[in-house]
Symmetry: C2
Subunit: 229 residues, 2 copies
């Protein structure tokens, strides 16, 4: 699926990872020059990577004004999560029909890695939480479904980066574990229920925290009206 020359691939992948791990926060400007310099290539390749990221909805490019990490609006957030629930329900239903021993192992192994990253307070934990859902999609064997889930999970991560608490892991690991159990037991109803609850919980993590609900300059500044703190 991926292509273009390998070099721009590397830049694309690095930027993507940095965004998903919240090292590059929404709104951060991404000048072609700096990116090129960072990776030791020219603007040409930097731009190519940015164009691809724009296609993924992770970056916004405004003509003549450069690229920046996308800043999903609050309305988009609800939209994204609604569709994500739809897609992941499809994943669960497909998985419940046939779940191999290897698949269960792969999932358990992934969760172990998540736990390790969380204990180490590694930024990887944020990305791994999302990748758990992508792994689920992969196990359906459907390339298309995997691609779509990957997209929507990426957008979700971006939304959490914008609206969620800093460094909050995206997902509760216990919920991942519960989901694996339900899938192993081929308990379709329970699996769907857990997934729905799980995604609502993730969404709430954005909702309940209005750290940046709107970049309402007035509201922000009003907190700085009193002399000091």
């Amino acid at each position: 699926m991926a292509t273009t020359t390998t070099r721009s691939d590397a830049i694309y992948a690095s930027l993507r990872r940095a965004i998903l791990e919240q090292a590059l926060k929404p709104g951060t400007k991404l000048p072609e020059d700096s990116i090129g310099e960072t990776f030791g290539v020219s603007r040409t390749l930097a731009k190519a990577a940015l164009v691809r990221l724009e296609g993924d909805g992770l970056v916004e490019i405004r003509p003549n004004r450069g690229a920046a990490v996308a800043m999903p609006s609050f309305a988009e957030a609800e939209d994204v999560f609604a569709l994500r629930r739809c897609l992941e329900r499809e994943v669960i239903e497909r998985l419940c029909r046939r779940m191999s021993k290897d698949a269960i192992d792969a999932l358990r192994s992934h969760v172990r890695e998540e736990e390790r990253a969380v204990r180490a307070s590694s930024p990887r934990s944020i990305r791994l939480a999302g990748e758990f859902h992508i792994l689920l999609a992969e196990l359906t064997g459907s390339t298309e479904l995997t691609g779509f889930v990957s997209r929507i999970v990426s957008r979700s991560s971006l939304i959490l980066a914008r609206f969620g608490r800093p460094h909050s892991a995206e997902c509760g690991i216990e919920e991942h574990i519960g989901l694996i159990e339900a899938l192993a037991a081929q308990d379709r109803a329970r699996a769907v229920r857990i997934m729905d609850a799980h995604l609502h919980a993730v969404e709430d993590r954005a909702n309940t925290d209005d750290s940046g609900r709107e970049p309402d300059v007035g509201a922000i500044l009003s907190r700085y009206l009193s002399p000091t703190d």
Copy 2:
């Protein structure tokens, strides 16, 4: 959503339309030079457009070997249609909940345009058939869902271009009309049934016609073994 400079947008849009209207068939090589020359721009912009089309799954780029209209495999075809049914079912269910008079009008108006294009044997009819489904998605008000449906419909069109009869309109217009009626009546069950049948019919149009099921050179050549014809 779209960005980059307007000029590469135009190239992207033109190429996309040409592919969806089957003017550019799967497998057709797309050299940067020719494209640039055609549109009166340099390879730079041609390449940018190709990279974006690759992101849409409409074009395949192999490093150092150039771009070509993507050739979905038969397996991909089934995969695509399965996911498409999932997404369009979601569209129907959302639409059944609330269907405005204006929405019905928009759909009827679109179908009229489809009929006109079919009567005129215009290649536009192929694209319009797909756009009916995108219009449905738009009417849900969900940008995300619309984007995903747009993607999957595009892929479907490509598959029909590869496996279907030449110039066959993608969709039966009567089915579109029936669907509108069911939606207007808020008859969820019937709407879902029609949509499922409709998509199966579309898929069958690819299945039953093995004009190019596999580019099996041996099989093709075997037909040319006897002296002449």
